[in-house]
């Protein structure tokens, strides 16, 4: 029995899962302490509200909020896929936030100004994100600009440009863009009857299965194709890949292009459901992209793990809105997710710690075995 237990803990995937769980527990624990400091009497209720999320609502309403949570999980998962895809090639794609914004800009403008149906809108969003990603990749390979810095600069430039462009299609009475439903209903993603599963929540569309399929596609590309192998080789050792005859710079640009397309698609899959409109006076880069980074690392940089972690992060974000706003604030869940990503930085150390422990216990056992074999007469 003990042996079986041992072999499970030796698995890399299990160690990653364990590490992620520790990160989550740590994040929730510190978040709880923050709540206790703000107002001890209601803290337990508040953290329960965050963790129960949509489950606190009765039957039909719960299904509705469950559906909405899934709808918002989609862009988060796509951003996470973008981050982890780039990370495999050694690129820290913090520009994912800007690529997401560019995607929103492209698909909403195509839908509202040109009245295109949903598929071209989605594709235009992807292309916008891809262009921005490729720009970061080009700046890195041609001019050696640090990918994090160029990503951040592009995030802000894109945000201001998007506000400018989408300002031309905004509704006259509010800072938001015109609603898709009222202006161009054929730009809404088809639902294929999926909304019936979630108490007719209108925003539930094919976006959810599409995002799941994309996660699988990314997994296949990274793990089962020559292209994926080359990308990982470039990420592991740039020079070795170069001398092995791989086109390292082209790979980097291509990776960033794909990463950007994934993020842009994520924006399209959210905004084309009509669940929300773009606010043209927004003055900071949307947190979606940055949360995507948290999701990717919490998911152990695996596409399939990211599905779980994206759902979890969105789950507690939805839960954040449930706390008593007279006392606490909804940002408690951003605090928890940022703590989780901070703890994720320690994952490598955590795994190293487990592995050292395993090795030490192995050595001890081997030594004991040896001692019992040859040293019988000593005792």
């Amino acid at each position: 029995m003990k042996k079986e237990n041992n072999s499970l803990i030796r698995k890399d995937g299990f160690q990653t899962l364990l590490a992620s769980l520790v990160c989550i527990l740590g994040g929730i624990f510190v978040g709880y302490i923050a709540l206790l400091i703000i107002e001890p009497s209601g803290a337990l209720g508040a953290i329960t509200a965050v963790l129960k999320s949509f489950f606190r609502y009765p039957g039909k309403l719960m299904l509705k909020y469950f559906g909405q949570t899934l709808v918002r999980t989609v862009p988060l998962l796509m951003c996470a896929l973008s981050v982890l895809f780039a990370y495999k090639v050694g690129m820290f794609n913090i520009g994912v936030a800007g690529q997401y914004v560019a995607g929103a800009c492209g698909c909403l403008y195509a839908a509202l100004a040109w009245n295109l149906p949903w598929l071209p809108c989605l594709l235009i969003g992807m292309v916008m994100g891809a262009l921005l990603g490729a720009a970061s990749g080009l700046l890195k390979t041609k001019c050696n600009v640090n990918i994090v810095i160029s990503g951040i600069m592009l995030n802000w430039i894109t945000l201001y440009l998007t506000n400018l462009i989408l300002g031309t299609v905004k509704s006259p009475s509010s800072p938001y863009t015109m609603s898709l439903m009222g202006t161009n209903p054929k730009a809404l993603l088809p639902s294929l009857g999926l909304e019936a599963l979630f108490n007719n929540e209108k925003s539930v569309t094919i976006a959810i299965p599409v995002a799941l399929i994309m996660a699988v596609v990314v997994w296949v590309v990274l793990n089962k194709t020559k292209f994926g192998y080359e990308l990982k080789a470039t990420g592991n050792n740039y020079n070795a890949a170069k001398y092995a005859g791989m086109k390292e710079n082209q790979n980097i640009i291509l990776t960033m292009l794909i990463a950007g397309a994934l993020a842009g698609m994520g924006a399209g899959l959210l905004f084309l459901t009509g669940i929300e409109d773009w606010e043209t006076t927004i003055s900071s880069v949307p947190a979606m992209g940055f949360n995507g980074i948290a999701v990717a690392f919490l998911g152990g940089l695996s596409p399939l793990g990211s599905i779980l972690s994206a759902f979890f992060i969105q789950y507690i974000t939805t839960g954040g809105g449930n706390v008593d706003l007279q006392v606490y604030c909804a940002q408690i869940s951003s605090l928890i997710s940022s703590l989780i990503i901070y703890l994720c930085a320690f994952v490598a150390f955590f795994k190293f710690f487990i592995q050292t422990r395993i090795r030490k216990s192995d050595e001890k056992k081997a030594a004991a075995l040896k001692a019992s074999e040859e040293g019988g007469e000593d005792k």
């Binding site: 001019c143 640090n146 600069m153 430039i157």
Partner: protein
């Protein structure tokens, strides 16, 4: 015109302080992407002092306390990076990114909790106002408003130059960023030096944070963080080739473009161009990208930056 000079100088002071902070961290071998978050936390510390310390204490006490509080807040927050990057050999980019998110989320939660409690649930904003205290920082020469923070920035510049290039400590710090193994072999404690580098960057970054939020306005909404200014400062540091004097010149250039966004409406010819205001908002970011594209090719980055130091590795 005076207004343009005034804003250029104050924004240059912010960029200078934060970029010098980045410089200390990177010279010791640790990449500090978390400067943005450190600025937020430093700004929070300073803003709290400016809100709660009565204005009657007078300018010197107010200025000094604010400076000490924001520097201290920044320093304490940078410990998060120091512990993760130096002791636990964590990925410095992830840690820094997490710190940026953590700072904005944490500051928002803290300020909202404070406002909510003070108002009994009526005010749930994340704003801190410091209108009266802000006046104590300003000395008026005609229409030019001299801000004590400008002097602080100059003092820090001189100090940074002297420390990095004229002291034994500076030499050792730089050695740890270039070749930590060699530094260790001659008896320098690499971990200690890197701690010093990161903590100094926290101190300067925190200081830069309070200067930034008091530069143009007298109320700050902490939900917004500091709008990528920490990253602009990193661009200034790279453009300034990790050298204090060059960083100061780069900060003036970037500060000028940032100031344009605040004051362009005061110039008739610029208004006549009829450029939308967002273009001015984008300007510092565009300029920094262009400048980086031309200067990053022959980067003089410290050789060992971003690589955790492991005594056992070769």
């Amino acid at each position: 015109m005076t207004l343009l000079v005034q804003y250029t100088l104050i924004f240059a002071s912010v960029l200078l302080l934060v970029a010098l902070g980045g410089c200390f961290a990177e010279r010791s071998g640790v990449i500090n992407i978390g400067l943005e978050g450190i600025m937020v936390v430093g700004a929070l510390g300073g803003a709290l002092v400016m809100k709660f310390l009565p204005v009657t204490v007078g300018a010197p006490v107010m200025v000094l306390t604010t400076i000490v509080a924001s520097a201290l807040f920044g320093l304490l927050f940078s410990l998060l990076l120091a512990v993760a990057a130096i002791n636990f050999k964590a990925d410095q980019t992830i840690t820094g990114t997490a710190m940026n998110m953590l700072a904005t989320a944490g500051a928002t939660v803290a300020v909202k909790a404070m406002n909510t409690a003070a108002s009994g649930g009526n005010d749930v904003s994340s704003d801190i106002a410091y209108t009266q205290a802000k006046d104590l920082f300003i000395v008026r020469f005609g229409s030019f408003e001299f801000n004590w923070f400008m002097l602080v920035a100059v003092i820090c510049l001189v100090a940074a130059y002297v420390v990095l290039y004229k002291t034994r400590f500076g030499l050792r710090l730089r050695a740890c960023g270039e070749h930590p193994q060699a530094a260790d072999s001659v008896g320098i404690n690499v971990y200690k030096m890197r701690y010093a580098g990161v903590l100094i960057s926290g101190l300067l970054g925190g200081l830069g944070g309070i200067v930034y939020i008091t530069a143009g306005v007298s109320v700050w909404k902490f939900e917004n963080g500091v709008a990528g200014f920490g990253f602009l400062a990193l661009a200034v540091m790279i453009f300034g080739a990790w050298h204090p004097i060059k960083i100061a010149l780069a900060a003036l250039l970037f500060g000028f473009f940032r100031a344009l966004g605040n004051v362009y409406s005061g110039f008739d010819f610029m208004m006549a161009l009829n450029i939308p205001s967002v273009v001015y908002n984008m300007l510092p970011y565009i300029i920094s990208l262009v400048v980086l594209a031309f200067t990053s090719k022959k980067s003089r980055a410290p050789k060992a930056e971003g690589i955790p130091y492991d005594k056992g590795s070769r």
